[in-house]
């Protein structure tokens, strides 16, 4: 992992270069080294950490809210932050599909069902404390440690980074080309899956099975 070079998108690289130039111009008499005033925070890292903070914070709020409506709204916020992260990875098509399908369609379905169920007063929704929750939180902390251990100490070597190519592969044009050539068969199978989902949802939510 150490051999992977630092990745800079063209825009962030340009911003950093221009910042370097202006700083060097101002401090030409005091410092002649080029890399001394290199800013350590680029636009990309700033975007990543702010969107990541929004994502983690809204996920925490989603899990801890008592009312399902508040949970659903925080989940929408989390989906928007994830859409921003996809954009920062130059996956434009996936970012907009994320906003349209997840934050639009699926969450509307959730809010609609919450409204339909009429869960009543908030007191009935309070969940009592139990030792099972402590065990559950401890187990999930174990999962987190395991994942971080795998990511940090894995000796698997990745091929060299191709991040400069990412601007070309995430476009609608390229995704559509791949979808209708290489991935044509899974795409057609998806239609059968959606048909099964429609039939299943209608049958399950019907009033009486006879």
């Amino acid at each position: 992992m150490e051999s992977v070079p630092r990745f800079q998108s063209s825009f962030a690289g340009f911003a950093r270069r221009s910042a370097c130039c202006t700083v060097r111009h101002c401090n030409q008499k005091t410092s002649s080294t080029k890399n001394f005033f290199k800013p350590s925070v680029t636009l990309e890292t700033f975007l990543f950490y702010s969107l990541g903070a929004v994502s983690v914070g809204s996920a925490l709020m989603m899990v801890t809210r008592r009312s399902p409506v508040m949970s659903a709204l925080y989940l929408v916020l989390n989906f928007f932050a994830l859409g921003g992260l996809y954009l920062s990875l130059h996956a434009q098509f996936i970012a907009f599909i994320q906003i349209l399908v997840y934050a639009g369609a699926i969450m509307v379905l959730f809010v609609f069902v919450i409204m339909l169920l009429n869960l009543g007063d908030e007191k009935k929704l309070t969940e009592k404390f139990s030792w099972k929750k402590i065990v559950g939180a401890g187990l999930s902390f174990g999962v987190l440690m395991e994942l971080i251990f795998v990511f940090a100490y894995s000796t698997a070597s990745l091929p060299p980074s191709q991040f400069e190519k990412a601007t070309q592969i995430g476009t609608v044009e390229n995704i559509g080309m791949q979808l209708f050539t290489t991935f044509l068969f899974p795409f057609e199978v998806t239609s059968v899956l959606l048909l099964a989902a429609i039939v299943g949802a209608v049958v399950l939510a019907k009033k009486k099975l006879n």
Binding site: G52, L85, I106, G136, I169, G170, I198
Partner: protein, 99 residues
């Protein structure tokens, strides 16, 4: 930007979803936590796709979103029929499959 921070972020989000599934008793919030876990795995796939310069990860995310939409429709239909039979969405009260 490097690959590792994206992996850590998706690990943290995934584990928040696991906490939600294990510790919440409201079936709708459990279901939303499952959606959160699906999304964190999607973030891993898109990050790998961008850093390896391979479009296959993004295609997999596209199909995962399709499956997630179908899963949301079916799961919410199950929750509606559960609520119609038992008048509750608390998963402690819904235990007829448990023996």
């Amino acid at each position: 930007m490097e690959l590792q921070p994206y992996l850590y972020l998706s690990a943290i989000t995934f584990v928040i979803g696991v906490v939600g599934v294990l510790s919440r008793r409201n079936a709708i919030i459990v279901f939303m936590s499952i959606e959160l876990m699906l999304n964190s795995v999607n973030l891993t796939l898109v990050a790998f796709s961008a850093f390896l310069g391979d479009v296959t990860g993004q295609m997999l995310v596209f199909f995962a979103m399709t499956v997630a939409a179908a899963e949301a429709a079916i799961g919410l239909a199950i929750i509606i029929s559960m609520f119609r039979n038992k008048q509750t969405v608390n998963i402690d009260d819904i235990n007829i499959l448990k023996w």
